[in-house]
Amino acid sequence: MTLMKKSALSLILLSFLLACQAPTSGQSPQPQEFRSGTQGLDLQYVANLPPPRLFDRDQVNIMLQVENRGTAPLGGGADRIYLSGFDPTIITGIGTDGLPIPPLEPRSAFVSQGGRDTISWRGQIRSLTDKRIDKYTPLLLATACYTYETTATAQVCLDPNPYQATSQQKVCTASGVGLGSQGAPIAITNVDVQPQPQRTRFIITITNSGGGTVYKYGTQYLNKCSPYSAGLAFDEVDFVQLSDITILGRSIKQSCKGLDRDGHLRLTSGTGQLFCEVDLNEQSAFLSPLTITLRYGYRQSIPKPLEIRAVP
């Protein structure tokens, strides 16, 4: 009996040892596919800052949590957040210059969560009781103005002889590549490949998927993004700049059509198309990565209703 108990115990221990075996060598953790999502900067009001109801002659504290949920660096430089929507003679002490967005690291292959920080304002509420006003209900609007970047890589098939009659099997067939999103509010959603003899044309579809407003890249446009400025003109909004497009180790930006002289592409109803092409010297079809980089300014807002009541 004692021997049977010992045997049973040994069996149980052995089972545990087998089940809890360390992973065999060669199974190292794989980098995650991180270039996905349509968010750049994420803005959230910190809970109860401000509270939904305040009273006059009180102090008001407003705090925003900012997080870089995209794959490009953000913050520092001229990127700023502004607070607007309230009467400055009732809520005082909050300036119109905005506050700088601190540098926020992007997501990457080995960093699943981007940089996070907080930005806060402090104001003072004037008396409403003196004017026999029961309440004041502004809608606070936090507006973020920043520059961002989208980088997409598509494996495309380049076929220098698409119409050649041959029995030889080709490595690949030139066709469109759907890309989805790349961890940025401006997404390169599709690359359509049109092969021709010794030349391949790409039709690249770009979409504003972030829910905000995209505008031309540059500091002067960034300043105009402020709610306290004259605003961006119609020919400054809905533009992205093609920073570069490379394939076969070389840039083909010069071949691209649809750009203005500053290299900006206009988006119509949130979508635009870019036409680029590459000349081929090869003899047979092959796969190659096509890398596209866009730069742009982006504006997004988040509202917060507030109720300020008069107290005796």
Partner: protein, 304 residues
């Protein structure tokens, strides 16, 4: 002991787990369209000839403005009723308005003792009206949320407010601002906010001009001007209005236009603010009751 302990635990859990209560908001004071309300009664509405009765009036200020040096007058048919010696038909009164300290408003009760002195001959039953008329100066302080938007071209789609007409409810006074129509009039590169303000007498009484309020209750004049004085403010600055006095006909809406002397540019951004309107006027409230005087068989006249 154990049972007692269990009960204590249960009670403690119940108290601790009660639903969280939110702090109630202070009540809104600036609402309603009443100012002074009068409740007039006779202690004995059916009077025997030559008898006397008390007329009891309860005055209540349901508005938000204090009544100071208001005047009330009992109006009775002198041929059949006379005040008993020592009681006054006219009297000045003060009544506090509603506020957050006093949400009910001031209340006052006054009495007039009257006696029937005679009845027309061969009249067995006679109905005579008794009226209390109160005249006082009043003020409406209206506040309305409005949107100041220098971005008339709509360059920025995300705005904290939009310029739109505002309907304003009662403001704790009978003369009310019923609605406001804002316009962002271009002024160079800026805008100048302009407001069309509609007002109306929504109370049950009559509007008179503030200087005429005393004579309304003391003289028999029939020519009383139903005018109000109006002033508007935006961000503590007075607006420039087309007229300072407005004639307010009974049952009709009056209109006045006011514009801001200050212009607003893109540097101020789009924001919501409060337009304040001050209306000063006199007001007359009247309450009436009917008193029945009955002649007993054989009664001829009342003793002196």
């Amino acid at each position: 002991m154990r049972t007692f302990g269990c009960w204590l635990l249960i009670i403690g859990l119940l108290i601790g787990c009660t639903a969280p209560t939110t702090v109630p908001a202070p009540p809104d004071i600036a609402k309603g369209t009443d100012a002074l309300t009068i409740d007039l009664r006779a202690t004995n509405p059916e009077l025997i000839m030559c008898q006397q009765t008390d007329l009891v009036a309860t005055l209540r200020n349901l508005g938000t403005t204090n009544i100071e040096r208001g005047l009330y007058t009992f109006i009775i048919e002198d041929q059949v009723l006379k005040p008993v010696t020592g009681t006054n038909r006219k009297k000045l009164f003060d009544l506090e308005g509603r506020s957050q300290y006093n949400p009910q408003g001031g209340i006052e009760q006054t009495t007039l003792k009257v006696k029937n002195t005679a009845l027309p001959p061969q009249i067995e039953t006679y109905q005579t009206p008794i009226i209390l008329q109160a005249c006082y100066q009043y003020e409406t302080l209206a506040s309305a949320p409005i949107c100041i938007d220098p971005d008339v071209l709509g360059k920025n789609p995300a705005k904290p407010c939009t310029v739109a007409p505002v309907s304003v409810g009662g403001q704790g006074a009978p003369v009310a601002v019923t609605r406001i129509e804002p316009t962002m009039a271009p002024a160079g590169n800026d805008i100048r906010p302009t407001f069309t303000i509609y007002l109306q007498n929504l109370g049950s009484g009559r509007v008179v001009s503030a200087p005429d309020v005393e004579s309304a209750c003391t003289t028999t004049t029939t020519t009383l001007n139903p005018t109000v004085e109006i002033a508007a403010f935006l961000q503590n600055r007075p607006l420039r209005c087309t007229q300072r006095e407005v004639r307010l006909e009974q049952g009709k809406e009056a209109r006045i236009a006011c514009e801001s002397e200050q212009t607003y540019g893109p540097a101020q951004g789009t924001f919501s603010s409060i337009l304040e309107v001050e209306i000063t006027y006199g007001y007359i409230n009247t309450a009436s009751q009917s008193l029945t005087i009955n002649r007993l068989p054989g009664q001829e006249r009342c003793p002196p």
